[in-house]
Amino acid sequence: MASEQHAFAYDPEKNYDEDIMAQQRQIEKEIAETQPLVSGLFTFDDIVEEYTSEDAVYRHKIEDLKTRYANMRKTRGDGNCFFRAFGFAFLESLIKDPTDYSRFLELVTKSKDELIALGFPQFTLEDFYDTFIDIVKQVKSPGTVEKLVETFNDQGLSDYFVVYLRLIVSGFLQKKEDEYIHFIDGERTVKQFCSQEVEPMGKESDHIHIVALTKALEVPIRVEYMDREGLTCNAFTFSASDTSDDSLVKPAVSLLYRPGHYDILYPL
């Protein structure tokens, strides 16, 4: 048969890593060309077809979301979506209501020395910290949502912001090593986990990343889980401290999770 001539034949002498990586680069390039880092606003009617093509149950879940949320923004699926979605949504919330701005700025300003104290070399931190603080300060200079969208779609600035959020998470987990070692799989130390799963760009976020970011920045996050079970989304609130009651927390940021991806939600 003609097709058999093209069938894959494993050649043990050949190193396939390079081919796999080239293919990976190609997929990343296609994603970068078709998805903005942070999109404009979409209504749920705009996205219903796209989502339900994946699974019909999403149609019910979108109806459920419509009872609580007005619209959404999409983020690029590049493994950094949780950090980028959180960063954008939180700074946007500060533009709309700057009550929490001074507390947040003070907290992140202190973070650099804390990271250096944990052993991060200053010269590897500095540029990310400077860019991060500049972007935070845009909120008050005076900030507009349009300008923030522009900043977050500038690949360099946006990525530097994400790197620093990753470092904050890494620093927090390392500082609370005794507590978080129990949540790490494999025979790894917290430091190893951070250098493999938190600090590298493009590494997807798990529950532990979200818990750590929420607590490190003291910013509560609500995540609507849109999985394939049931007819409604399951909301989960990550509270900023261990003592606060979930039901009393007003989340500063709401995110939509579909397996493997985070987008931004805007409550009604």
């Binding site: 796999i20 010269f123 760009m201």
Partner: protein
Amino acid sequence: MAGSALKRLMAEYKQLTLNPPEGIIAGPVDEENFFEWEALIMGPQDTCFEGGVFPARLTFPPDYPLGPPKMKFSCDIFHPNIYPDGRVCISILHAPGDDPMGYETSAERWSPVQSVEKILLSVVSMLAEPNDESAANVDAAKTWRDDRKGFEEIAKVTVRKSLGL
């Protein structure tokens, strides 16, 4: 972001010049172009590469340090984790999306807080302890595994050659 990359590379060069790690010299080939570096790596003590001085080139991408540099030895070196053309294949030189088979889960990955110094130190460890699980040079991996004496003979020749003997 080439401006950020340049700033970072200059900071790293300064750092390496002020506090050079043992057995490693590295810096830009030409001060006009900070994106091409040359490194000299001494073969680690008590290994078959001891006494050798191995030159290599590092090429940095415009988005460094978001992405890792590439590294290639400019001398002949027969080693499981070095391709026959000199390119170095170790986990710290790969972006996290690149997950070639065979790396141990504990292996270090590239992240923006890694540095040239960390890479070069990993290369020194790689010379001391080849990883035959993820071979870039299959011949070298087989020789290392099945004929250690033969491997050491070839390494000795490489060391002498690297010194121009």
